[in-house]
Amino acid sequence: MDKQKRNENYNIYVESKVPKTKAWPSLFKAFLVGGIICAIGQGFFDLYSYLFPNLAESEVTTCMLMSIIFITCLLTGFGIYDVIGAWGGAGSVIPITGFSNSISSPAIEFKKEGIIYGICVKMFTIAGPVIVCGVVGSIVCGFVALFI
């Protein structure tokens, strides 16, 4: 139809009009933020290995992850993590801290709607898919392991 063609042309035109931002600064920022978060993780890993020499490596890793998750929730509460996120982009999303922030930010945001319908219901509005896909994926992996 005529309208469809008009819309297609318009979309192509708009695409050409969208200002091209320089990619390198944001890529560098993501690299820096992601790297620093991982290095902090390594710091916790070494700390816990030193404090609890009896723990297995996987348990130390869990402790380390729990620590940075806790810190992220705290930073989210103080309104600092979204500043880091806006600056670092994917660098703050891809580490486990991004997962933690995506749970704590709606929890804090929607507390005004009450504890049950606010905090508890809305907590997984963003991180829900991660948990769902994670659980479904792990079950698929289990089946794969069963048959191999």
């Binding site: 469809q4 008009r6 819309n7 297609e8 318009y10 979309n11 035109y13 708009v14 009009k17 969208v18 200002p19 931002t21 944001s26 989210t76 509460g77 309104g79 993590y81 979204d82 500043v83 880091i84 996120g85 806006a86 670092g88 982009g89 703050s92 999303v93 991004g98 922030n101 995506s102 704590s104 930010s105 709606p106 804090i108 945001e109 929607f110 005004k112 509005t125 963003i126």
Partner: protein, 375 residues
């Protein structure tokens, strides 16, 4: 015809605008009536804050126009929140007959237009048009939680905190409402909610074209043409679209969203939201109109009519634009006032004279107290 010309004399008695702290640091800060220091207005939630903001705007406008709440016959208003709660709850407090409107960010022009039509046809003596938006409440409804650490796309706009109200009246003032054009809903197939300017530009183009064609004018006849919230990208697209229709926008064209913030305020394409055109019009444009620095102004508020649900279901973004034309009639009115002051013409619009006098007095007092506050 899409454009409705006012038959009788319909005036914009006065307007009042309030903006938030971020907008109060922008280039138009001297023109707004009040700048909030705290955008929660000491309320517990941002929705309550938006409500209070609109309430303050409405009472401010009525005060500034030198009227009482009971003088207002109808209140036309809307906002961006679901079920236009801010306006409805404000109307609950005011107890003025309320006509709730929704055209997203185009609500200001729509409500002024309808108020003018009511007054023009003698259905009301004074009607109020008001709208406002709040960044934080819009953000949590339309986008993500405030504390989520995500990056905004470079084409996004910043929903402003603020709003404005205009009192439309049959009483004489310096600003006359000449004509209204209600726009068609247009959809050019834009899907990206982070690029509203591109979605709304065709609607703005259509409304501007229809308006100037029906009025038999050129764009250069206007001292100022303002679109609502197209943003930088939307403006560029509007230029190109109008050029295809051989309509050239000159330096007299500006976008309220682009005017709202400084470049250093990192708001990407500029301001957006129903409150954007409302506060810029009632703050900046109206004060210029009243001084006579602008003789003829066209306000084109633009709105994107999608919801988060339609967007998630893969629908494109329909958009609308409404236009209202204003004219400065100050000099002519002063003559009338002078004529009215002669004892012979005692019956001539005694009431209106009183009222307009009161209004100017009030405005002067207000200005004085403001200056005092600043000192």
């Amino acid at each position: 015809m899409q454009t409705i010309k006012m038959k009788n004399n319909t005036y914009l008695l006065d307007g009042y605008s309030i903006v938030g702290p971020l907008e109060g640091k922008g280039p138009l800060k001297d023109y707004f009536d009040y700048i909030l220091k705290d955008d929660t207005l000491k309320e517990k939630t941002f929705e309550k804050a938006e409500r209070k903001l609109l309430e303050n705007i409405v009472t401010g406008a009525i005060d500034k126009a030198g009227l009482k709440t009971s003088d207002i016959d109808f209140f036309f208003g809307g906002d961006l929140l679901n079920q236009i709660v801010s306006s409805s709850y404000t109307a609950r407090e005011l107890e003025i007959p309320f006509i709730g409107l929704y055209s997203a960010c185009a609500t200001m022009a729509e409500s002024i237009g309808l108020a003018a039509l009511f007054v023009d046809n003698g259905l009301a003596e004074n009607a109020l048009a008001a709208t406002c938006t709040h960044f934080s409440s819009a953000e949590r409804q339309y986008r993500f939680p405030l504390e989520l650490g995500n990056q905004r796309a470079p084409t996004t706009q910043w929903t402003i905190t603020g709003g404005g109200a205009s009192v439309v009246s049959c009483l004489k003032s310096k600003v006359k409402i000449v004509a209204v054009t209600f726009g068609k809903v247009l959809d050019f197939g834009i899907m990206d909610v982070n690029n509203m300017g591109a979605a709304m530009a065709p609607a703005a183009c259509d409304t501007i074209r229809e308006h100037i064609k029906n009025m038999g004018r050129k764009t250069s006849d206007y001292d100022f043409i303002a679109t609502g919230d197209l943003g930088k990208l939307g403006c560029e697209i509007l230029f190109d679209l109008l050029e295809q229709d051989k309509i050239i926008l000159g330096k007299n064209y500006q976008d309220c969203g682009c005017m709202m913030y400084n470049k250093t305020q990192r708001t990407f394409m500029g301001g957006s939201g129903a409150g954007c055109s409302a506060s810029v019009f009632n703050g900046y444009i109206l004060s210029k109109l009243k001084k006579g620095e602008f003789k003829r102004v066209l306000l084109v508020s633009t709105g994107a009519l999608m919801s988060t649900t339609t967007n998630q279901q893969g629908d494109t973004i329909p958009s609308i634009a409404h236009a209202v034309e204003f004219e400065y009639v100050g000099a002519q009115n002063e003559n009338n006032l002078a004529a009215a002051q002669k004892p012979k013409n005692e019956n001539f619009s005694k009431n209106s004279l009183k009222n307009s006098k009161n209004a100017t007095k009030n405005a002067k007092n207000r200005a004085k107290t403001k200056k005092g506050e600043k000192k």
